[in-house]
């Protein structure tokens, strides 16, 4: 059975840019929650809020702890409201938890200025019951440790760290190796082994005390005591050296990370350049739309006159209609008159050409007289100029200005949106400029020099450590000899303690062997599972499998069995994700994954494959992404039916962001 950790809801108050109280619901197991947000809007802060809720840690760039004072919302602080709070609702091992954690100014502090002016508070409610301090500590320890959290909550920076480790396993960080073993459950055996080792020392002391009671063994006991002293000193030295080494290795890692980021300044510059271009396009478009509005405004005054014009148009239609009827009448008469006159002149019908009788000739004469009379009685023909003006007015008033109002409003709306976009882009550009300025060259020089000094110190410490380990080994050998002699000639009491020592050593051997076997087995499992995930994620059909080494480093193996020596950044990214997925699968805790900007350096093919595999990487997945990393429509299409919740981080100001839920057809 594995423990299952399911996150339900997060509520944050004044945490970073998230002013006042805001909430976010996680997707149910098997589904994915996506949070969209542009850079510097608060995605990493959201990841930190989840991390802080569980572990009480806020990690900044270069894995440095962030300041509590700086984490509180600035706008709220300006209004006299200091500190922040997170509340996380989750299920673990069949119980429901509400975990409240926050920082507030100490009672005596009115205007906090640094971290020491704050106090932290933690409350846990399990199944409706508030836990006491000890229960609280135990519950938190069981849910997640800082070491294992790195496999549940991670950002691109941490993913990159894995990639470096996987590329160069010799430099695999001690912390990460230990964290991998912790998540896999190795510490239960290594812990028991270490305690048995300590128990051996206790029993040796018992033997020494018993040996000192007899003159036969007193001399040996004295030599044994001296060895104990040497061993204690060597142990202490080794512990000290290892602690210093660990600190220096962490410092070295942090310096390397810092240098990497300094190298990334060109990326920031390129981001700023494209931002400038984008702003220019926006401004050009803005001018064009403003011109369109000016043109529409030129005729807008007609809107006021439109009812009157409509009335006039009606009159014009009537007048021009009468005139047209008259014209037709005149034309008809003209034609008829012509034909009658032609008939009289030729004495035949103009249509059938038969000869006209006298009576027919008389009818024609009377008809001609009637038409000529009618033409004299009708209204005089309108002036041709007047008619032209009538037609022109009718055409000019045919376009209704009121029908153009919706276009005008849409244009005004567009312009408003574009002005906001320009303002946001300008602010983003200012942020980028600040960031670029902060990464100056003198910083790089100083960091390189610091790194060189640190590497030298590590070298010296490693030599000292080796020396102490050698001394310890020699002393252990000497103690073994003394122990054997004492066993042969010692008193019954010494013999009894010697039996205890033998039992303890036998147990130690058992656990030692078990640790080796467990590690081997776990490595096999991790290799198998990581390979399965890797083959689903990679777009390269010739890759055969992944191969794990002693330090959990992974290499890509071609189908023909050869190790791939050079890997692309995308491939390394995929390998790191595969390791994380495999560790998740083999962990004693089945937990959620929260990934911040994980697709930044991947092509669309890899991104698509990862998106499709997300629901299988962990039981519960939360993605924090920016727009150019993954488009929302694409995410919905790729994860059809598998999206639980979607949110957008919307900017209100540089110090205030809002978490907005997005509507979706298949959302929970």
């Amino acid at each position: 059975m594995r423990y299952v950790l399911v996150l339900n809801k997060l509520e944050i108050e004044d945490f970073g840019p998230f002013k006042d109280v805001q909430e976010m619901r996680f997707a149910k197991p098997g589904k994915v929650c996506i949070v969209y947000g542009e850079n510097m809007r608060g995605k990493t802060t959201l990841l930190n809020a989840i991390r802080y809720a569980i572990l009480g840690q806020i990690i900044g760039r270069g894995f440095r702890d962030e300041s509590i004072h700086e984490t509180g919302n600035w706008e709220s602080a300006e209004q006299g409201k200091f500190g922040f709070r997170t509340t996380l609702w989750f299920d673990f091992d069949g119980s429901s938890f509400e975990l409240i954690r926050g920082c507030r100014p100490r009672k005596e502090v009115k205007q906090p200025e640094n971290d020491t002016d704050y106090e932290e508070y933690v409350d846990i409610v399990r199944d409706g019951k508030v836990l006491g301090p000890e229960e609280r500590k135990e519950a938190l320890r069981r849910v997640m440790s800082p070491e294992t959290a790195r496999f549940f909550l991670f950002d691109a920076e941490l993913l990159q760290q894995y990639e470096e480790l996987l590329r160069d396993p010799a430099k695999m960080g001690r912390q990460i190796r230990e964290a991998i073993e912790r998540i896999l459950g190795v510490p239960v055996l290594t812990g028991a082994r270490a305690r048995l080792f300590d128990a051996e020392k206790d029993i040796q002391q018992d033997i020494n005390k018993a040996a000192k009671k007899s003159s036969d063994t007193n001399k040996l006991a004295t030599a044994q005591t001296q060895c104990f002293e040497i061993r204690t000193q060597a142990d202490k030295d080794i512990t000290d050296y290892q602690a210093k080494l660990s600190g220096l290795e962490d410092h070295q890692q942090s310096l390397r990370g810092h240098l990497d980021r300094l190298g990334d300044v060109s990326i920031l510059q390129s981001e700023r350049d494209s931002l400038k271009q984008e702003m220019q396009h926006l401004r050009d478009d803005l001018l064009l739309k403003a011109d369109n509005i000016r043109q529409l405004n030129a005729n807008l005054w007609l809107w006021v006159l439109e009812p009157k014009i409509e009335y006039l148009r009606g009159s014009l239609s009537a007048e021009t209609g009468d005139w047209l009827k008259h014209q037709v009448y005149l034309e008809m008469n003209k034609e008829l008159l012509g034909r009658c006159r032609e008939g009289l002149k030729s004495g035949t019908c103009s249509l059938c050409k038969t000869e006209l009788s006298d009576s027919a000739t008389e009818v024609l004469k009377s008809q001609i007289a009637e038409i000529e009379l009618s033409a004299k009685e009708t209204n005089p023909e309108p002036e041709s100029l007047q008619v032209e003006q009538l037609v022109h007015w009718k055409a000019a008033t045919s376009v209704r200005v009121s029908s153009q109002i919706p276009f005008l409003l849409a244009l005004l709306h567009d312009i408003e949106d574009m002005r906001i976009a320009v303002a946001e882009a300008e602010e983003k550009q200012r942020d980028l400029d600040r960031e670029i300025r902060s990464r100056d060259r003198s910083d790089a020089r100083k960091t390189w020099s610091d790194l060189e000094t640190t590497q030298k110190e590590i070298g010296v410490l490693e030599e000292s450590l080796e020396e102490s380990q050698k001394k310890l080994s020699e002393t252990e050998g000497r103690l073994e000899e003394i122990g054997q002699k004492l066993a042969r000639i010692g008193s019954p009491e010494v013999a009894f303690h010697t039996h205890r020592l033998e039992a303890c050593k036998a147990l130690h051997d058992v656990f030692n062997q078990a640790v080796v076997e467990l590690r081997d087995e776990l490595r096999e499992e991790v290799e198998k599972d990581a390979t399965g995930v890797f083959l689903r994620l990679t777009t390269e059909p010739d890759y055969g499998n992944l191969q794990i080494n002693e330090n959990y480093g992974l290499q890509i193996v071609h189908k023909d069995g050869h190790v791939i020596p050079v890997r692309s950044a995308g491939a390394e990214h995929i390998v790191a994700l595969s390791l994380i997925a495999a560790l998740q699968k083999n962990s004693s805790v089945s937990g959620p994954i929260v990934m911040d900007s994980p697709f930044g350096r991947l092509d669309s093919g890899h991104t698509d494959r990862i998106m499709r595999s997300l629901p299988d990487l962990a039981d519960q997945v939360t993605l924090l992404v920016y727009k150019s990393e993954i488009d929302r429509d694409l995410a919905i299409d790729t994860l059809r039916g598998k999206i639980g919740h979607e949110y957008k981080i919307q900017r209100v100001s540089a110090r205030h962001s809002v978490l907005l839920p997005l509507e979706g057809n298949d959302h929970e």
């Binding site: 239960v188 039992a503 036998a506 147990l507």
Partner: protein, 67 residues
């Protein structure tokens, strides 16, 4: 790993490497101490020594009984 299942899984693994002189019950007890008391070193070590002493005494009594 804290669950009974995980415990048994580890025990099965340790059992596979058992020393002929180390009984399963003793291994089980050492594991229980490690799992139940992960953070209190002195108490864990005290309990561990009690378990070993009991094993040695029982073994001695058994040996005396068979002799």
């Amino acid at each position: 790993m804290n669950s009974q299942e995980s415990f048994e899984k580890i025990l099965a693994r340790v059992r596979g490497t058992l020393h002929p002189d180390v009984p399963q019950d003793l291994v089980r007890e050492i594991l229980r101490i490690q799992i139940d008391i992960p953070d209190n070193d002195s108490e864990a070590r005290r309990q561990l020594l009690v378990a070993i002493d009991k094993f040695v005494k029982d073994k001695g009594a058994l040996r005396a009984g068979t002799e």
